[in-house]
C-alpha cells in the first residue's frame, strides 16, 4: 500500500505542488548550483504520515532494547524480570524469599516459564496493569534501592510471549490465608498500551500468600554462564538470604540453599538531594508542590535542607522564604537553582543503601570456586547526580578450575541482580580494562581485560542505577561511578598484588632451596674425596652447609 502511494506521489507531486520550487536562493549556506531535483514529498504529504507511536508499539519493534534480541537471551530475560519482581516483593514485605523457577519445554523453540514467590501477593485490581501495561509500577517514582525501577520488565516479558506465541501471561496471586487466590490471563493491547483481561477466576492455590507468573515464549535453552543456570547461581551469590529452587527444561533440579539467615538491612526511600535536581525538575516541583511557601517547599521536598538552610538558599536567590512556590517564574526558578548549587549542603544520606557486604561476598565466592586467595571490599557510599550509590568488589585467584591464560571471569551485579549481557558496554568492564593490573602481577594486553585464573565480582548498589538500556544489562559510565569502581578494583587489586608478590618471593626461595638441596650432596662427595673424611663427618658437613646457606638465603 505504502509503496503504491509513494510511486503515485513520484509522478504527480512535482507538477502539482508549488511548495517546493527549485529555488537556488533558499537555504542558508552558499553552495554550488543544484543540477537536478527530484521533488517527491511536500510538507503536506509528510504531515499526512505523522502519527503517535504507543510505547508498546515502540518496544515491540525495538524488543532488543528490552533484552529480547535472541531466543536464548529471551529465556533469561523473562526469568530475570520475574525473579527481580519476586525478590523485591518479598523484601518489601519483610519476608525471607523462597523462589521457585520452573522452565518447561513445549518444543525445541518454545518454553513455558513459571516463577513463583512467597511474597505478599498483589491486590486483585492492580494485577492487569502491572502485567499488561508498559511503564506502570511502584518503583519509578521513588528513590530507593530495588531490582526493578522502570515499570517495564515483567509486562515486556508478557508482551514478548504474546508476540512470539500469541498466548497471554498467566498470573496467580494471593494476599493472605483468609483471602482467595486469583488467576488472570492478560494480554496487551499494544496500540493503546493497555491490559486486556481474557480470563479472571478465583482458584484453589496452596500457598497462603505469594504470586506465580507463567509466560509461554519462543526461546532456546542453553547451559553455561550466560544461561538461566548461570543466572540462578549468580543470583544466589548476590542474594544469600534467598532460597531458590530451579527446575530446568531437562528436568534437572537445582536448589540454592539460604546462606544468610536474615534479610539484608532494608534500603530506605529518600527524597531527592538539591544538588542532583535539574532546573527543569525544580521548576516542575515548584509548580506542583503543596507547600505554602518557599521555605516549606525546600525543607519539605528535599533531603539535607533544614528550614534554616532553606532561608539561606532563598536569600542567595534574592527571593522571599515566604513566596508562593507555585507562582515562581522561570527566572526565579533559575535564581533559586543557582543559589542551591552555590550552597554547601551535606551529602545525601548514605545509610539508605543495602550492600552485600565483604563477608557475604567472600562466602558467595568461596561457594563458587576453591581458590588460593580471596579479597573483598565494600566502599563507602558516594553520589552521582544527587543519587547515593556504592561499589563492592571481590575476587578469587588461582583456582585449578580457572584457565591461567584466558581473560578473567568478570561477574557484574547491580542492586543484587547479575548482569549477563552487554559486558563490553558496561562501566564496570571499562573500569576493569582501564585499571593497571600489571602493577598487581596480572597479565593484561592494552585495551583488554586482564588474563589469569581470576573470578572478579563487582556490585553497584544505588537508589537509581543508570543502565545503558531498558534491558538493564550494563551500567552507564557516569564519571563518579567509574571512579568508585576503579577505587574498589584497586583495593582488591592491591591485596592480590601483595599475595602474588609474596608468592613470587616464595617461589624464588623455593627455587634457591631446591638448588641447595640438589648440589650440597655433590659438594659432600667432593669434600670426602679431597679431605678423606668418613661418611658420618660428610653428612655433618652437608647438614651444616645446608643450614648456613638456608640462613644466608633468608637474610
Amino acid at each position: 500500500m505504502a509503496q503504491a502511494q509513494l510511486k503515485m506521489k513520484l509522478k504527480k507531486v512535482p507538477r502539482k505542488s508549488p511548495a517546493v520550487p527549485a529555488s537556488k536562493k533558499a537555504g542558508p549556506p552558499p553552495s554550488k548550483p543544484e543540477p537536478r531535483k527530484i521533488v517527491r514529498l511536500t510538507a503536506a504529504d509528510l504531515a499526512e504520515k505523522q502519527r503517535e507511536i504507543s510505547v508498546s508499539e515502540f518496544f515491540t519493534k525495538n524488543r532488543h532494547l528490552l533484552g529480547f534480541d535472541s531466543p536464548a537471551k529471551a529465556l533469561l530475560t523473562t526469568v530475570k524480570e520475574a525473579v527481580d519482581n519476586a525478590l523485591d516483593a518479598c523484601e518489601e514485605a519483610g519476608i525471607l524469599p523462597d523462589i521457585l523457577i520452573e522452565i518447561q519445554a513445549i518444543s525445541e523453540t518454545r518454553y513455558r516459564v513459571a516463577v513463583q514467590d512467597n511474597g505478599p501477593g498483589i491486590v486483585k485490581a492492580q494485577i492487569p496493569k502491572i502485567f499488561g501495561q508498559l511503564l506502570y509500577g511502584s518503583k519509578f517514582h521513588r528513590l530507593r534501592q530495588s531490582r526493578g525501577q522502570q515499570g517495564i520488565g515483567i509486562s515486556a516479558a508478557g508482551m514478548y510471549g504474546q508476540l512470539t506465541t500469541g498466548k497471554p501471561i498467566t498470573v496467580i496471586s494471593r494476599v493472605g490465608a483468609n483471602k482467595p487466590a486469583h488467576k488472570f490471563d492478560i494480554q496487551i493491547d499494544t496500540r493503546r498500551n493497555a491490559p486486556v483481561v481474557t480470563a479472571d477466576d478465583e482458584v484453589e492455590w496452596k500457598p497462603e500468600h505469594g504470586t506465580r507468573v507463567e509466560i509461554e515464549i519462543e526461546a532456546t535453552y542453553k547451559k553455561g554462564r550466560h544461561s538461566v543456570d548461570g543466572y540462578v547461581e549468580q543470583t544466589a551469590m548476590a542474594n544469600p538470604h534467598a532460597a531458590i529452587a530451579y527446575v530446568a527444561p531437562d528436568g534437572e533440579r537445582l536448589t540454592m540453599e539460604r546462606v544468610a539467615a536474615e534479610l539484608p538491612k532494608p534500603p530506605l526511600e529518600i527524597k531527592p538531594h538539591p544538588h542532583g535536581v535539574e532546573l527543569g525538575i525544580l521548576l516542575k516541583m515548584l509548580h506542583e508542590t503543596k507547600a505554602r511557601n518557599l521555605r516549606a517547599f525546600l525543607s519539605g521536598e528535599f533531603s539535607r535542607v533544614s528550614p534554616a538552610v532553606a532561608e539561606e538558599i532563598a536569600r542567595g536567590a534574592s527571593l522571599s522564604p515566604n513566596m508562593t512556590p507555585q507562582k515562581a517564574a522561570r527566572e526565579q526558578a533559575e535564581a533559586l537553582y543557582n543559589a542551591v548549587q552555590a550552597t554547601k549542603l551535606m551529602a545525601p544520606p548514605s545509610n539508605v543503601l543495602s550492600p552485600i557486604g565483604e563477608e557475604l561476598l567472600l562466602t558467595g565466592l568461596k561457594k563458587q570456586v576453591e581458590a588460593r586467595f580471596y579479597a573483598a571490599t565494600t566502599r563507602s557510599p558516594s553520589v552521582y547526580r544527587g543519587n547515593p550509590f556504592l561499589v563492592e568488589a571481590a575476587l578469587a585467584y588461582g583456582a585449578d578450575s580457572l584457565p591461567a591464560d584466558e581473560p578473567i571471569t568478570l561477574l557484574r551485579f547491580a542492586n543484587r541482580v547479575p548482569l549477563l549481557y552487554q559486558q563490553s558496554a558496561c562501566a564496570v568492564t571499562k573500569s576493569v580494562i582501564q585499571t593497571n593490573w600489571k602493577s598487581y602481577g596480572i597479565q593484561q594486553s592494552r585495551g583488554a581485560l586482564p588474563s589469569g585464573p581470576i573470578i572478579l565480582m563487582v556490585h553497584i548498589a544505588s537508589v537509581w542505577v543508570p543502565f545503558t538500556s531498558e534491558s538493564k544489562e550494563s551500567v552507564a559510565s557516569y564519571p563518579q561511578i567509574a571512579k568508585e569502581i576503579r577505587l574498589a578494583l584497586q583495593d582488591v587489586g592491591r591485596k592480590l598484588g601483595i599475595f602474588i608478590r609474596r608468592g613470587l618471593r616464595e617461589e624464588d626461595a623455593e627455587k634457591k632451596r631446591s638448588y641447595i638441596e640438589k648440589y650440597i650432596p655433590h659438594i659432600g662427595i667432593a669434600l670426602q674425596e679431597i679431605l678423606g673424611i668418613d661418611d658420618k663427618r660428610k653428612e655433618k658437613v652437608c647438614a651444616t652447609l645446608k643450614d648456613t646457606l638456608e640462613r644466608s638465603r633468608q637474610l
Copy 2:
C-alpha cells in the same frame, strides 16, 4: 513524606495486617526455618504506590538512554537529532540539502543550538507534536531507510533543553514562497507527554521553504573527534550530496562543500517480509486488516507474496484462502505462521536501500586523509528479521598523520549518520575485534582493536537499524548483521593484506639491493688487488656483477 510513611508502616503493620503471617509452610521450595521477619509492606500498601509512568517522565529520569548523559555529549546529541531530521526532510522532498549549524555560547555551561535546513518545511498543525511529544513521527510505522526512525530524537532534545535551562524549543518553518513562516515556542508537559505552545506567531523569514530549530541547553563545548566538529566532518563524509555550514561557539566557520552533485538514489518504502513477522504481529495484522479474505491479506500486506503463493501458504496451514482474516483464532494464526515459515519465498527486495557506494566512500576518505593505500567495498543486501540491510567498509592505510602503534581509528555509520559514542557496545566494533587482522599483516592484541596507521569506515544501511539504545549510538549484534560486517571487513582487509605483503616484499628487495650496492665495490677492490686489473676494468666487472645479482634476485 515517603520516608515518614515508611517509618509509620514499620511500626504499625505487623500488628494490624493478617495478610502476611510468618508462615513456615508458604512458598514453594523447601528451606531452612526462617529466624526473623521484619514485616513491612502488605499487598495493599504496595498497591497504593502503583502508578502510571509517562514516557516523558521515563526518559527525563533516563536521559542517558537518549544520549544526554554528559554536557559534552548533550551538545552533540542535540545537533545530531536536528541535522538527522533536516537531511531526512530534504531528501524526502527531493531537495539537495543545505544545512546550517550555529552554536552560540551563552555561558561556559550553556549554549543555544540552531539548525536550519532548506527542506520542504512542516505544516503548521504538526509542529507542536513533532517537537513537543515523545514517540510521535512519520518514520516509525514504515520500513524505509532514513536517519530518524523512532519519533523521539528532536523532542527529546527539546525536553533536555527544558530540563536544564527551563526554556522552550523554538521552531520556525515555512512550506513555500507564497506561504507565511510560522514561529513556535514549545514546551513539553512531561506528565502527559504532550506539547504546550507558549508562543505562536507569523514572522518574516527570508528562506522560501525550510525549517529552523533552536534549543538552549546546558552543555560544554569541546574540540576533537567525539565533538560537534568531528560529527560535522564525518556527516559530510557520509553525505557527499549535502552542503553543511557550521559556526562553532568560538565563531570559527567550517564549510563542507557539496561533493556529489546529485541526491543519492532515493530509498524505497517496503512492506514487511513474511519471514520476519512474529506470530503476535501476524495475529494483530489479521485482526486489523481491511482485506476481505486471507488470500488478499497475504498478497496485499506482505512483500514477495503473490496470490498464488498466498494460496499455497493457506493450503499449508489447512485454511481456506477465502476465510475472513479478522476472525482468525490464535491457533489458526499459528498454523498460518508455521505455513509461512515453511514456504520458500523470495528474499525481500534489495534495491530499496541507498548505500554511499565505493566511489564516494573513497572520495570521502581521501578528503579526510592522504594515505598510501585505500580500499572500499559495498556488499550486496542481506536480511535480518525480514529487514533488508547492507554493509559497506572502506579503509585508508599508511598516512603520516596516523600513529603506527595506536589502535586504528574506527568510524561507524548507520544510515549515513556517524556514530560517535558507545563504540565498544557496537556490532561493528565487535566484528572488527573478532576479525583476524594479523593475517592481513596488521598488529592486533587478543580481544582488542588492531593497531596501525589505519582509518576504517563501516556503514550499515537498513530499512530499520536495530540500535542498542534510543540514543542510536551503536548497532545491536544480530548474527546476520555481524556476519555481513565481518565479510565486508575481510574484503577490505584482504586488499590491504596484498598491499602490505607487496610492500614487505619490496622492502625485502630494497634491503637486498642495498647489500649488493654496499659490498660490490669492496669485491671490486679485492679483485683489482688479486688480478691486477685497471680501474676501468674493475668498474666494468662491478657493473656486470651488480647486474647479474640484480637479475638473480628478481627470479
